[in-house]
Symmetry: none
Subunit: 215 residues, 4 copies
Amino acid sequence: MRRGVIIARRIKEAASVHRMRIATCAGKLFEQKGIDNVSMDLIAVTAKYSKATLYVYFDSKEEIISYLTLLSMQKLKDYILEGITQNEMHKEKFLGICHGLYRYASEFPLYFKMVLSPINIDFKNSRFEENEREIFRIGESINNIIGRFILEGIEIKVFRPDLKVFPTIFNIWGMLVGVIELALNKKEYIKKEMKMSLDEFLDYGYDTIFNSVKI
Amino acid sequence: MRRGVIIARRIKEAASVHRMRIATCAGKLFEQKGIDNVSMDLIAVTAKYSKATLYVYFDSKEEIISYLTLLSMQKLKDYILEGITQNEMHKEKFLGICHGLYRYASEFPLYFKMVLSPINIDFKNSRFEENEREIFRIGESINNIIGRFILEGIEIKVFRPDLKVFPTIFNIWGMLVGVIELALNKKEYIKKEMKMSLDEFLDYGYDTIFNSVKI
Amino acid sequence: MRRGVIIARRIKEAASVHRMRIATCAGKLFEQKGIDNVSMDLIAVTAKYSKATLYVYFDSKEEIISYLTLLSMQKLKDYILEGITQNEMHKEKFLGICHGLYRYASEFPLYFKMVLSPINIDFKNSRFEENEREIFRIGESINNIIGRFILEGIEIKVFRPDLKVFPTIFNIWGMLVGVIELALNKKEYIKKEMKMSLDEFLDYGYDTIFNSVKI
Amino acid sequence: MRRGVIIARRIKEAASVHRMRIATCAGKLFEQKGIDNVSMDLIAVTAKYSKATLYVYFDSKEEIISYLTLLSMQKLKDYILEGITQNEMHKEKFLGICHGLYRYASEFPLYFKMVLSPINIDFKNSRFEENEREIFRIGESINNIIGRFILEGIEIKVFRPDLKVFPTIFNIWGMLVGVIELALNKKEYIKKEMKMSLDEFLDYGYDTIFNSVKI
DNA sequence: GATGAATGAGTGTTCATTCAT
DNA sequence: CATGAATGAACACTCATTCAT
């Protein structure tokens, strides 16, 4: 029946709206107070749902986190794509990626830390598998983007010809995340002891990383 | 009221022995289950002390963590010093540092993550200040070691002459930690998808990082 | 994690019913064992609620006490009003007040002691302010009742004309409470050594106090 | 043997010195922080004894309290005797008693509250019996002092001839304690709302009580 | 006699989750 | 579909007291 399908879709859409509303709200609270200091009660009150209703749309607090991680991963992918497509020169594309990742790290400090962590540790229950798989898929797709970027770099002789693409994806990723994380964590220290602005430090870092793969 | 009937009495031992026993035990549990999932009760049972006795030797759970962090930092420094002094050639010294850090990361995965995090966030209370300061001091001393290593590299013309020493310390540190963390977290993925052993992947990573600073 | 399997479900009742049930139960325990020797655990078990449920209806143990104090104060006011209105003659009204206070002291020995204590010491937190204010208000209203009673006594020339009303309220109150408290505490002693019944002793005391203000 | 006796006495004296030192120290802490907020640990540290040593001189925390109550009772008796003997006129003797009791209430607020309470409730264990009995004995002796004072008052026709001595002791005691307790607890209230100094209020109260028994 | 060391038994409060309606 | 109501399981920390030396 046509009607049935339409109704079902509407309901489904409505559900996704609720999920989004709840998750957005929870996300803000998580950033403000840290995940552990945000109770389901607080989320419910803030999002103006009954606490029990939260459990209609999410199986658990964990799933909210998982969902938010997914959302943030989508943003990450967007930022990185933007960083790449908005620039012509290859080095500038690289910096675009760096800035994209930094933007992500600033906006989603909570999930940034998870990007490097083993996915399987956090989401084991069957009902999250969907989120989990989707997160994984986006991760793969980001890998591909970086992969293509490296290949292109090799082709146009900006990057060393002996680079092994796959491991290099991971290396660049690791180096970048490591430098950005350290920069964010030691902000004060960098400013005071190193007498550099955060941006200066990061630019120097991006440059160093670029050196590791350029011809 | 009659309380505190003693069931088994330990042979008199120095307080430091007890601290170490408790901390070691707690450390193992922390690695297995994550710090937040280990209660003082569990530590007490596992270490075969009464919970109250834990509080004779440590002021709080936090202090146990602080103590363990300090212990691990001392190990880290040892490993890095070893890595540097046991090698002659400059590149080998660099690899020595890498292996030292990797060894640390394997042995102390929990504290490895803290190495990059802002110290001040965790230990604010006055009674830990001593530990905290000591941790900070060791951190500084590791920085110095890396700093001297970079300077030497520049002098003997292995490293680029335009390197800024201080930021480079942080960059190398960040890149290394990032690559190692990612390697450890994505172990399985690397083996399966990349068809490399962990060591091969890491060696390739160390090499890449070395490239970023060498002449 | 699965939690909170419900074993028995109560028929839906108004929150105020639950508050009353919990408070009544707690009150009995408080009287029996002293407030400090009654744990929330015990209250929960005795009242046949889960401990967590206690916290649904009361914010804290302190609030239970505050609530009970309020209830008892309401009773006190009732008893005193009764004592005054059920009698015609002025002296009999006075005895009515005495008996009202004594009845209160017998029924609520725990709160009887608080009647004389500085209110502000116990209930500081904002959430109890309502109870606190209400308790204070009832206290004031009792003062007024006694005040009017004294004024009337002066007018009809039963009480001395030189009485200062306000201080006399407090004096009568203090004397009465003191005598009743002592009588209750030294019950046995009075019976054995003084060879009087409690009532005889108290009547004699009420009389003595009446003498202090009568013309 | 003479020696033995001397040594024994010395030791015994020494012990009583320790008891006094510990109790004095504990007493100060009790007044400052409230009995429940003072741990045996704190007493030990403050009095510069080992915690275990406290238990050499006192069976329990309770016994320290009992001992302090005893000390305070001795003071109370002293104050009252002073108040009576330092005055000639009967009314002034009465005021002397009042001031003595007030002085006690100010100096020992903690024990003042116990003066009215049933002794048997607090000290049941056999080892306190001695203290308990002594406290009781002093209480009796204070009763006697007041008793004699009343008798004298009747004889010299200051007090009503129909007074029953024994109950009157208790009545005066109860009224006085009640008025003083209330005055101390509602200090602020009296100053602000009644616009009287504490002394004025108390003097008025003493007078009122005196009226209750005078001819 | 003095004490270092050890501990059993709490304590109030929080929170994610469930289920009947 | 939404929710009010209920709860089991934790959890860090405290303290009076005991005993071997």
